[in-house]
């Protein structure tokens, strides 16, 4: 074998050599390329890795932001509850003042030097009441008188009034033609608009312009918000000013009650708190966009309904007297006393019960004599709801007017739904009280005749 190879193999060896050389070349090339490829794979590995890292970071940031927002919301809510409680008590005090002033006014003729002072007291009480109303609105208890309203009309009216007082501000409007109707408390939404106008004006002491827009939108248009809007149609009201704007820190706090950047004594810091409460109570949402030095935009989304607005007349203007018998139920002595006197002034026979139990005790034997009951919602022993049910058991036709320092909240709405005849919010004036009473008593008369 060896011999043979030796003999005729120069050629063969050369050939083998060639093949080996080729193999080496092939292996070298392959190795080189493989190394390159490994490098790109490693590079890709790190790219993918850092991409994932970036994503994790981003998610973490998002989670933190959401946590912060929910903390903020919780804080607002607890402050709201507190504010609501204070407002409730405060309202009862105002009720007493209002009532006493009313009574004195009735006995004072207009020439008397105290007449104007009494009027002023009444006016101040009304202002105080407005303040507590805002607080109540903020506390989300306030669902006042809900009816279908046209936001466009309200924007036109309020901005018209407002512009006459602030000539240095030019107002522009872009109102959608076929804006959906909303279901809301006219007075409260009016307050919301006015609060926003006033804030905007305060942000533009040297004047500027104000752009008011309305628009139909859906929950789809409200994506990318920190809240999840309920599905459905919304009416968007947006207000953009060219004022001083605000930084992020300020923006985070503006809806807190008592937060103000305008210094103590100038601002109460309740404006936006009540705006927030009102919007929330209406099932709506509010957003703010601003940059320091570049103006601010507030956006309010209110749930839309498909209805047309209808006109409603105001029945609370004049004092209307009557002679019927009224059972007044209230656990607060001031309210009971003042109410008693007011009713008497209006000509009514009055029975006063200072608790739920007492109310039933009085009502039972005199059911035929008592024409209507004015019933406080919140009482310690037996609350308005229970008293209501008991009276209705005794007399299914009993006429009952609910009264409360809170506005129509869940409880009151519940009773109203069960067939109660009306609701009156404390503190009430003689005019309002007389109007509500007549409305209810005359309804009965209609039915009987």
């Amino acid at each position: 074998m060896t011999k043979r190879k030796n003999n005729n193999s120069i050629e063969e060896i050369e050939r083998e050599n060639l093949i080996l050389k080729t193999k080496v070349k092939h292996l070298t090339n392959d190795l080189h390329l493989t190394r390159q490829e490994n490098e790109t794979s490693t590079k890709n590995y790190f790219e993918i890795y850092s991409d994932m890292e970036r994503k994790v970071e981003e998610r973490t940031r998002q989670v933190k932001e959401l946590q912060k927002q929910s903390q903020q919301a919780k804080k607002l809510e607890s402050i709201g509850t507190l504010a609501g409680g204070i407002a409730h008590n405060f309202n009862n005090l105002l009720m007493g003042i209002q009532g006493n002033a009313s009574l004195m006014l009735v006995e004072t003729n207009s020439g008397h030097p105290h007449f104007e002072k009494l009027k002023t007291i009444q006016k101040l009480v009304r202002n105080g009441a407005r303040l507590t109303k805002q607080l109540l609105g903020y506390a989300r208890e306030g669902q006042y008188e809900i009816k279908a309203i046209s936001l466009n009309q309200l924007v036109r009216e309020t901005s018209g009034t407002f512009s006459t007082t602030r000539k240095e501000i030019s107002i522009h409007q872009e109102l959608a033609d076929d804006l959906y109707v909303i279901e809301a408390d006219l007075g409260q939404i009016e307050q919301v608009l006015l609060n926003l106008y006033i804030n905007a004006a305060e942000a533009m002491p040297q004047g500027g312009s104000l752009l008011l827009k309305t628009m139909n939108v859906t929950h789809e248009d409200m994506k990318d918000k920190c809240y999840k809007p309920k599905q459905g149609n919304y009416v968007l009201f947006s207000l953009t000013d060219t004022g001083v704007g605000m930084d992020r820190k300020t923006m985070e706090r503006i809806f807190e009650p008592f937060f103000t950047s305008r210094g103590l004594g100038n601002g109460t810091g309740l404006g936006l708190a009540s705006v927030y409460g009102t919007v929330k109570a209406h099932g709506g949402y509010i957003d703010v966009y601003s940059e320091k030095g570049h103006g601010a935009t507030f956006k309010i989304y209110l749930p839309a309904i498909g209805m047309k607005p209808k006109k409603e007349k105001n029945a609370d203007t004049d004092v209307m007297k009557g002679r019927e018998t009224v059972l007044l139920v209230d656990d607060e002595d001031v309210v009971a006393d003042v109410g008693d006197q007011m009713l008497r002034k209006l000509g009514y026979e009055v029975l006063v019960a200072r608790s739920g139990k007492e109310a039933i005790q009085y009502y039972e034997p005199k059911r035929d004599k008592i024409d209507m009951v004015i019933l406080d919602m919140i009482m310690p022993d037996m609350n308005g709801g229970e008293v209501y049910d008991r009276i209705k058991e005794i007399n299914p036709y009993a006429k009952i007017l609910l009264s409360s320092g809170y506005s129509i909240d869940g409880q009151a709405a519940d009773i109203l739904e069960r067939g109660c005849d009306g609701f009156i919010q404390k503190p009430f004036s003689m005019e309002v009280l007389s109007g509500r009473i007549r409305k209810i008593l005359e309804k009965r008369n209609d039915r009987l005749s």
Partner: protein, 300 residues
């Protein structure tokens, strides 16, 4: 020139049909991967996005990536893992071949031809073309791989849109002992290389690919700048047919052209022998792993 024009018209009509057929559904993924191959800036993320837009493809790529052929040390359940564990370039190849093979799903055998035999041929040409580039030229050979997979796509088009003619063409080539191109030219006035060229041009593939596919039976006619690439494809096509791997559309080819190509590339026969041997090993390994069995999987 009139003849040229007529031919152009005819093929254009076929391409219109292709545009409305399933064949065009491979275009976006295939062009996408080819773009990734030819763009040095592109990353694994680009590739991942291209593949993942096509869930069945993603599933098949992962299946192939997990097969013993690629001996990954881990189970691969995401494209990005595949990139990491078996390599960016390998994933490009798998994606390309898995997508292209979707259109080779014709199983019936006529005169030695079937979709799957042509597919085996195409994979072999792709692999061999790539290996020649790598081992002989020290180049990555990814375009050669793509060209190999697609060079005979014109045959698939004929099979689908000129069905009766195509059967006649196959039979005629068999009886008269001619290359398929000759029989095609006699019947149609053009060949599968013309269709392949126009189709890949229509799909905006890189010119190198378009030219090589259009000249894979006559690489001498390719313009100078693409001559090396076209010749490589020719050599790979020639050798696979010589070794009888899969379908052969040119059993009577001209050794003169082959020799010219070897000279042009300065590649020696014994060097090619070494490469072909390795390629055959790879192919039989793939076959053992069932990697040619896409058809069955699809029909389940």
């Amino acid at each position: 020139m009139a003849l040229e024009e007529e031919r152009y018209e005819k093929i254009s009509k076929i391409i219109e049909l292709v545009d409305r057929s399933e064949i065009s559904s491979i275009q976006s993924v295939v062009s996408g991967v080819i773009d990734v191959i030819n763009d040095p800036q592109s990353s694994a993320k680009d590739l991942k996005d291209i593949i993942e837009i096509d869930p069945p493809l993603t599933a098949r790529v992962l299946k192939v990536a997990n097969s013993a052929y690629y001996y990954s040390l881990r189970k691969i359940s995401e494209i990005q893992h595949a990139v990491i564990w078996i390599g960016f370039d390998v994933v490009k190849e798998i994606a390309l071949s898995q997508k292209v093979c979707e259109v080779f799903d014709q199983d019936e055998t006529i005169s030695g031809y079937s979709g799957s035999s042509l597919w085996k041929h195409s994979i072999a040409v792709a692999l061999l073309g790539k290996m020649i580039c790598r081992r002989e030229f020290g180049e990555r050979g990814e375009n050669a791989y793509a060209a190999g997979l697609l060079h005979d796509i014109g045959i698939i088009v004929e099979n689908q849109f000129l069905e009766n003619d195509f059967i006649d063409i196959l039979k005629k080539a068999e009886h008269e002992k001619k290359n398929l191109s000759v029989s095609e030219y006699e019947a149609l006035g053009y060949t599968h290389t013309d269709i392949g060229k126009m189709l890949t041009d229509h799909w905006s593939f890189p010119e190198e690919l378009v030219v090589a596919i259009g000249n894979h039976h006559n690489p001498d006619k390719a313009p100078q700048e693409f001559s090396k690439f076209a010749s490589t494809l020719y050599i790979a096509d020639y050798l696979c047919q010589e070794r009888g791997i899969g379908y052969s559309d040119a059993p009577f080819c001209d050794p003169g052209i082959f020799r010219k190509c070897l000279k042009r590339l300065d590649v020696k026969g014994y060097a090619l022998d070494l490469i072909v041997k390795d390629m055959e090993k790879e192919i039989s390994m793939m076959e053992d792993q069932g990697l040619f069995q896409y058809d069955k999987a699809k029909k389940q």
